[in-house]
Assembly symmetry: C2
Homo-oligomer: 210 residues x 2
C-alpha cells in the first residue's frame, strides 16, 4: 500500500500512528502542503479533495479521510484493535475522535488559516482563532475521559481517540494554548509518547521531515 502524506499533516499523522500500531509497512509519498503540491493535477486524480492523507491499496483503489482509512484498517487488519468491542464504548471513542477530527482540526487547518490571512487577518488573529478552537474542543475532550481509568484516553490499549489526540496537542502548542486545564489528555499523551509505534509515526521521524 502507498500512503500519500506530509510529515506535518495532522490527518496523515493519525494514519501513520494506526499503521505503526498494527505493524503495517507502507510506501510513503510526500506532498509538500506549503508548496501546494496537494493541488497538482496528478494528485487530484488520486484525491479530488486535494488533501492528505490518501491510501492507495495494492489494486489501485484509493481511500481518503483519515478516520475512514483508520476504521477500514481496523476492520481489515484487526490486531491490535483500535476501537473497543462493546458498541457503546466504541461510540464513545468515536465521539472523542470526532470532536477533534470534525470540530477542531478542520476549523484551524492550513486551508482555513490561509483563508483568514487572505481576509487581512494577521498573526495575532490567527493565533486567537487557533486558541479558541483548542479551548472549545479540548474542554469537551477532557470531560469525555474524566471517568476513564487511563493510562490512555479510554483505558488500555491506545485507541482511535489517542490517535487523534496526539497531533492535535502539537497544533495546540503551536498556538501557545494553555494546556494546564487538560491533565487527563496530557497523561494520555505521555503514555502514547512512550510507545515505539507513536515515536515512529511522529513528524520528525518521516522521510520528508525538514
Amino acid at each position: 500500500m502507498r500512503l500519500h502524506s506530509y510529515f506535518r499533516s495532522s490527518a496523515a499523522w493519525r494514519v501513520r500512528i494506526a499503521l505503526a500500531l498494527k505493524g503495517i509497512e507502507v510506501e510513503q509519498i510526500a506532498h509538500h502542503l506549503l508548496r501546494e503540491e496537494q493541488h497538482a493535477p496528478d494528485y487530484l486524480k488520486v484525491n479530488p479533495q486535494g488533501q492528505v492523507p490518501a491510501l492507495e491499496l495494492e489494486d489501485g483503489r484509493v481511500l481518503t479521510q483519515s478516520l475512514a482509512i483508520i476504521e477500514w484498517l481496523d476492520e481489515t487488519h484487526p490486531e491490535p484493535k483500535l476501537l473497543p468491542h462493546d458498541a457503546f464504548e466504541r461510540a464513545r471513542v468515536r465521539v472523542f475522535a470526532q470532536v477533534i477530527a470534525c470540530d477542531m482540526h478542520p476549523v484551524q487547518n492550513l486551508r482555513v488559516l490561509n483563508r483568514l490571512r487572505s481576509m487581512n487577518h494577521g498573526k495575532d488573529d490567527v493565533i486567537a482563532w487557533g486558541q479558541w478552537v483548542i479551548r472549545n474542543g479540548f474542554t469537551a475532550c477532557e470531560s469525555l475521559v474524566a471517568d476513564q481509568p487511563g493510562p490512555f484516553c479510554f483505558g488500555a490499549p491506545p485507541s482511535l481517540a489517542d490517535i487523534c489526540l496526539i497531533p492535535m496537542l502539537t497544533n495546540a502548542r503551536r498556538y501557545h494554548s494553555d494546556l494546564a486545564p487538560y491533565p487527563r489528555l496530557l497523561a494520555a499523551e505521555e503514555a502514547c509518547n512512550a510507545m515505539p509505534a507513536f515515536q515512529r509515526a511522529a513528524p520528525a521521524a518521516q522521510p520528508d521531515a525538514e
Copy 2:
C-alpha cells in the same frame, strides 16, 4: 431515548433521518441555538461541547457527535443498514460522509460564522466563506459518486452518505451556491426527498420549527 435537537441544526437533522429510516421513535428536546440555549448549564451537563445533537439512552448514558450516534444506531438497530456490508464500500460511504461532516459542515456552522462576524466581517464575506466551503467539498463529493449507479449517492438503499448530503445541500442554498456542477448529488437528493423518512426528518416537520 431522548434526542436533544434544534430543527435547523444540520447535525441533528442527520440523526433524525437515521432514526426515521430505522423507524425508531424518540422524544425530542429542542434547544434554540440562536438563543444560545445550547450553552445553558443544565445542557452542558448532557453535552459539555454545548452542541446538538445529543442522544440520551434509556439508562441515562449520552452519546454526542452525529456520525458516532448514527454508527451506534446502525450497530444496535441493524435494519435497514445505513452502511454497506463490504469493508471497502463501507469505507467509501464514510469518506463521503466525512468530507461533509469534517471538512464542510464544521467550517461553516453557526459558531464559525458568528466568530467571523465578531471579527468585523459582514454578510458578503460570510456568504463568500460559505460558498468557498461548499465548492471545495461538493466538488470532491460529486467525484466520489461519479462511478455509482444511483438513485442514491451509493446505489440503493440510502446510506450515511445521503444522510449527510441532504442538510448540506440546504446550507449550500442559504449561500446561493451554484449547484449545477453537482448533478449526481442533486439526483440523490431527489430520490431522498421522495421518501417519507426523509420528509419526517426535515426541519419544517419538527415540533420546534418556526
